[in-house]
């Protein structure tokens, strides 16, 4: 745990020391929370010398927005939010347009717009290698060609902890400080460091509806009930947080961090199982990443 933390702090400092205009992608989830905590440790007593960027799809859980406000105040960092204006005009809605289109327009395109506007050369992201097979292949300093494209066959070799931080104008680097952490590591660290998290990670009675065998939480009035359909109250929690219509809850009684750790340890399914975007088509994460998704 100490080694993981030291390695992540080293990565964050190295990126900042060599970047022109770094920014940290902040998604409000548990991985972002750990990454933000590590950044604050890396530069203490100064606040981290870069802003946070939240690509807001407009479909995050209400509790996530509350948590975001709290963390920005606590860290003393600047928050930049961006919502793809074209998506807003078009009224992109995951219930109508599907998960793929929604994710592409609101997340991938939104992210690219925000990064282009900011002119950021280095972007921190909270991806972990244990999450998904194509992420297991990604570098810590992941080089992106103009247009934010990822070419998995042209990755720079990354030896020791020596990161090649040079880019040409138009090229960028995505930096993943918690590449080597597992889901269990994240929970243990949150527990050990008492890192604040969105309460949705802990079990509580919540209004849910079953769709395609998964529990979807009714977070606001935009939920399109089928005729006669009603939300039922279930004791659920989330292993991962994204847009509420695209993130399934699991039935659980784990209402403390300790119980969550035990549940994570005993889990027989992966955390991304609740992410509806990953299983659309084979190799879908790799495709999204090539197009610029985090």
């Amino acid at each position: 745990m100490i080694t993981l933390e030291a390695e992540s702090i080293e990565i964050i400092r190295e990126a900042v020391a060599t970047a022109r205009n770094p920014v940290m992608l902040y998604s409000i989830g548990k991985d972002s929370s750990v990454m933000l905590h590590l950044a604050r440790k890396a530069f203490y007593p100064a606040p981290p010398p870069f802003p946070l960027l939240h690509v807001d799809t407009g479909w995050k859980f209400k509790e996530m927005y509350l948590h975001r406000t709290r963390m920005v105040a606590e860290s003393g960092m600047r928050l930049i939010t961006h919502t793809n204006p074209e998506g807003v005009v078009a009224g992109v809605n995951p219930f109508i347009h599907g998960s793929n289109y929604h994710t592409d327009v609101m997340k991938t395109q939104g992210l690219k717009q925000a990064l282009d506007e900011l002119g950021s050369d280095v972007v921190f992201g909270g991806a972990r290698r244990d999450e998904e097979k194509s992420r297991a292949k990604e570098r810590v300093f992941s080089f992106r060609a103009p247009g934010h494209r990822w070419d998995p066959k042209a990755q720079r070799p990354e030896l020791w902890n020596l990161y090649n931080t040079h880019v040409k104008p138009d090229e960028t680097i995505r930096v993943f400080p918690i590449s080597n952490w597992t889901e269990l590591d994240i929970w243990q660290y949150i527990h050990a460091e008492r890192i604040p998290i969105v309460p949705l990670y802990l079990a509580a009675e919540r209004p849910v509806v079953k769709r395609d065998g998964q529990w979807i939480m009714v977070d606001d009035e935009r939920f399109p009930f089928a005729p006669g359909e009603q939300a039922e109250m279930k004791r659920v929690r989330f292993r991962t947080l994204g847009c509420w219509p695209l993130t399934a809850a699991i039935e659980s009684d784990a209402d403390t961090l300790e119980a969550v750790i035990a549940e994570t340890f005993n889990a027989r399914s992966s955390e991304r199982q609740g992410r509806l975007i990953d299983s659309d088509i084979p190799g879908s994460m790799e495709k999204k990443k090539q197009e610029g998704y985090f």
């Binding site: 933390e5 203490y44 030896l159 020596l162 090649n164 300790e258 399914s269 199982q273």
Partner: protein, 624 residues
């Protein structure tokens, strides 16, 4: 691992905190079954989730190579191209844990064209699992990978003789392969080589002992990985902290951030800043938000010092009692990682710890045949080739030999134009120490500046009548010195009077002031490390003494260019004597103003009798 209950969580977390992490790589030739073995390890350690297993069954039907059985290799081959071709292209990192340890596995490609990716995986590993197909024995790729593993400093090897099921679990096949390998690897300096016969496909000797191989009494692969001791000390505890970032939020706080590469540090310790050599004392150590009483190798810390000193990114804080070396020329082993060949003489960016400098390969001593280890002559280096080279850097670098310390001995080379990572290197030793900059802190003074120029600064003061040949001799001397690589400057009556002293005339008072200013300028230049040639009539003894007194003994060399006035007047290059005789020029030395000849000049040149080159020879001899 067994089920965990919330009530046991406290003891579980304690156990997790102290759990060691072992990083290892799997390597070997194509189709030796590396990905399958890792898939097996993940499967056996219950690191595969049900939904992943389900997806695996679907994938196995589509891409699988195992007929009706599930293809565990598909768990690790994450890229679409890899799955389609059934090979590993890029290094993948996978994670699993047992009750004893956590593991990070780098699954590295077997194909020759991806050797650089294999080196990438090896660079952070403590141990290598080298796979051999029991049917094929030790292959070229096995040798290549073993050599790279050894070069990257991995000291522990598991020789996994795989696919034993395909040779009917025959002990004689296994014994022959082990014998063959040990003979080949004997010179690699591995601390341990543990051979294990196994089947990644069926799981024999992976987690449990195989009933099919009762003749094997050694550990299972997982059993061995759980217990092997890989952390060796280099036998010392010399503190090393490459400074990554200077944290300066306000005027009251100045912290030096980095990850400790070796040793331990405590408040009050005396450190040295390299390359400057300044001694400092540790005031406090911050680990995250907390001040701590000590920190050791592997920790990311922020250190504050008791005094304000100049420390920047790329400097290294070291134990004062055991400082690191500083040099600008090295012998190193180099792995070339791009198609475009490396040619000696070209400049690359070199990154070593937090320092980045320009580096040039000055010489390829020899290339190594990766398969046989034979030394070969080479003019350049191609993709995946390994050589021992000499390397010269644009600025002194703080380093350790790679065998002593990986952090301060490993470096990468980056192309200055494309910014590709083109080479990975490991320093063997310094060819010579950079002069005058190690250990001792040196204030920047004339000695340091002079040493940098490899010369003794001097003021060579030419005095003599107008037309005596002072400037001609001084000019030629400067050319000679310049040709020898000396750093010089010539102050001449004319060039100074056109600028600095344009406000001065030829009255006695102005002449004195003229000399005073020139002497002061010469003094500054000597201080800067230059050899300064001053060519002035400077007729008065007292002014020349005033000039001499500005310099240290031996620095001021008075050269009397002694040419009879008749001869000077005969030459009259500038027509000044004629003017003076005609009364058009007042206070002209030798005519209506006196010239006081030096009594004991360092050099007395009878310029009337000697040629200019002969005069210069005399001076060069005197200067040594």
């Amino acid at each position: 691992m067994s089920m965990l209950h919330a009530k046991d969580i406290a003891s579980f977390l304690d156990g997790q905190r102290d759990k060691e992490t072992l990083r290892f790589i799997t390597c070997g030739s194509v189709d030796d079954g590396k990905s399958t073995l890792i898939g097996r390890l993940l499967f056996e350690s219950k690191s595969i989730f049900d939904d992943q297993l389900q997806a695996l069954e679907t994938d196995s039907r589509q891409y699988g190579t195992q007929g009706e059985k599930i293809d565990l290799a598909l768990l690790v081959d994450g890229l679409q191209a890899e799955r389609e071709q059934g090979i590993t292209i890029d290094v993948a990192y996978r994670f699993f844990a047992t009750d004893r340890r956590r593991y990070i596995v780098a699954d590295t490609p077997g194909h020759e064209q991806y050797t650089r990716n294999m080196a990438t995986g090896a660079s952070t590993a403590d141990l290598a699992v080298i796979l051999i197909d029991a049917r094929k024995g030790v292959l070229t790729q096995t040798r290549r990978h073993s050599r790279i593993v050894a070069m990257m400093g991995i000291r522990h090897v598991v020789l996994a003789v795989n696919k034993m099921d395909l040779v009917e679990c025959d002990q004689s096949v296994y014994d022959a392969i082990v014998e063959d390998y040990l003979a080949f690897a004997s010179g690699f300096g591995f601390t341990t080589v543990q051979a294990i016969p196994l089947s990644g496909l069926d799981g024999d000797n992976v987690l449990n002992h195989s009933a099919r191989m009762p003749w094997y009494s050694g550990p299972s692969l997982m059993g061995y990985l759980d217990t092997v001791e890989v952390h060796e000390s280099n036998g010392r505890d010399a503190f090393r902290l490459p400074v990554q970032w200077v944290n300066r939020p306000n005027l009251d706080f100045r912290g030096f951030c980095g990850r400790i590469a070796e040793g331990t540090v405590r408040p009050g310790d005396t450190l040295r800043v390299l390359p400057s050599g300044v001694s400092v004392e540790v005031k406090a150590i911050l680990a995250g938000f907390d001040e701590v009483e000590s920190a050791c190798a592997g920790d990311s810390v922020t250190i504050t010092l008791s005094e304000e000193v100049d420390v920047s990114r790329g400097d290294v804080l070291v134990a004062a009692a055991a400082p690191a070396e500083v040099a600008d020329q090295f012998e190193a082993r180099l792995l070339w990682m791009v198609e475009h060949p490396m040619s000696p003489g070209r400049q690359y960016l070199m990154k070593l710890a937090c320092k980045e400098v320009t580096a040039t390969i000055t010489d390829i001593k020899y290339r190594e045949d990766v398969n046989t280890g034979t030394h070969l002559a080479a003019k350049n280096l191609g993709l995946n080739e390994i050589a021992t080279v000499n390397l010269s850097t644009s600025a002194p670098v703080v380093f350790e030999p790679y065998a002593v310390n990986r952090v301060l001995g490993g470096f990468i080379l980056v192309d200055k134009l494309t910014f590709e990572t083109v080479g990975a290197g490991m320093i063997d030793f310094a060819l010579r120490r950079a002069s005058n900059i190690h250990w001792q802190a040196l204030e920047l003074n004339r000695t340091v500046r002079a040493a940098q120029k490899h010369q003794s600064p001097r003021c060579i003061w030419f005095t003599g009548l107008s037309g005596s040949g002072k400037s001609t001799i001084a000019n030629l001397l400067e050319k000679r010195l310049h040709a020898e690589g000396k750093h010089t400057y010539l102050l001449d009556g004319d060039n100074v009077r056109h600028g600095l002293n344009r406000d001065l005339g030829f009255t006695e008072a102005d002449r004195v002031e003229n000399i005073r200013r020139v002497a002061e300028v010469a003094k500054l230049m000597v201080d800067a490390g230059l050899i300064v040639l001053v060519s002035f009539i400077s007729p008065f003894i007292s002014e020349r003494r005033m000039a001499r007194d500005l310099f240290a003994p031996g620095e001021f060399i008075e050269v009397y260019v002694d040419t009879p006035i008749e001869e000077c007047e005969r030459r009259d290059v500038k027509g000044l004597y004629a003017k003076a005789r005609a009364g058009a020029l007042k206070n002209f030395t030798g005519i209506d103003s006196p010239y006081e000849a030096p009594e004991v000049p360092e050099v007395h040149l009878h310029a009337g009798q000697l040629s200019t080159p002969a005069c210069v020879d005399v001076l060069v001899d005197t200067l040594g």
